[in-house]
Symmetry: C2
Subunit: 110 residues, 2 copies
DNA sequence: AAGATGATGTAGATAATCTAAGTATGGGCA
DNA sequence: TGCCCATACTTAGATTATCTACATCATCTT
């Protein structure tokens, strides 16, 4: 019934940047964390996550390096750059603005 | 600087259905109304609006008929169907769920 | 007569996400 | 030893929503 997808289109960059803001994390963990923090509502598919990470890296908003994960495997750890922090601010503000605007329409008395 | 588009992808159907919930309205007026109610934040392009209306009509969520607009011109008036009302409920609930989940991530103390 | 505004329409581009594969490593277990 | 499972990353191709950029036509104003 309808289209209950796992994400709202256009918000994944924001979610990733925010998740990285306390400190570096590898891709797999980012996906798990978004899912956990959102109360298992947001589902980040690998086919969405990894291309998004590459995109963000290409924009210069995150920087990657290989390191050992908690489980002893090699994993690609991502950290916010200064530009990434500014981008996070900007995307968070934009989300605020747009979601508030949508709520004005949806929560109209009518 | 980022991508400040006029809409959040995936929310236009909801916005249209909600706008039609008090009563029938023609396409042009729907676009104006969404823009006004959202405080001029949401911009509904004609190239997004009309295809969306056709889509919704095809799904059976709205029904159209030609009639005279307030200005005396012919216009296509759209009204919610019963199925459309159910769809509105469903999409509103889904938006609630997803936007709340996103806010959990974005507003994390971190 | 021209120009602005209302009103609808569509073709083609863009871009984000999903589907659905695939590869590889390490741990647990029979 | 062999097998499966969870972790971890990658990518090609499809889907789909929205945007850009037109085009058309009517009415009202100047």
């Amino acid at each position: 019934m309808g289209k209950p997808s796992g994400l709202v289109q256009g918000t994944l960059d924001l979610l990733i940047l925010k998740t990285l803001s306390p400190g570096a994390m590898h891709g797999w963990a980012i996906g798990r964390r978004i899912q956990q923090v959102s109360g298992e509502v947001l589902q980040v598919q690998q086919g969405s996550l990894y291309p998004a990470l590459h995109r963000l890296e290409q924009q210069g908003w995150i920087r990657a390096k290989w390191a050992e994960s908690e489980t002893g495997r090699q994993a690609r750890f991502y950290a916010l750059t200064a530009a990434g922090r500014r981008q996070l601010e900007s995307e968070a503000a934009n989300w605020s603005r747009l979601s508030a605007a949508i709520n004005l329409v949806v929560n109209e008395a009518g």
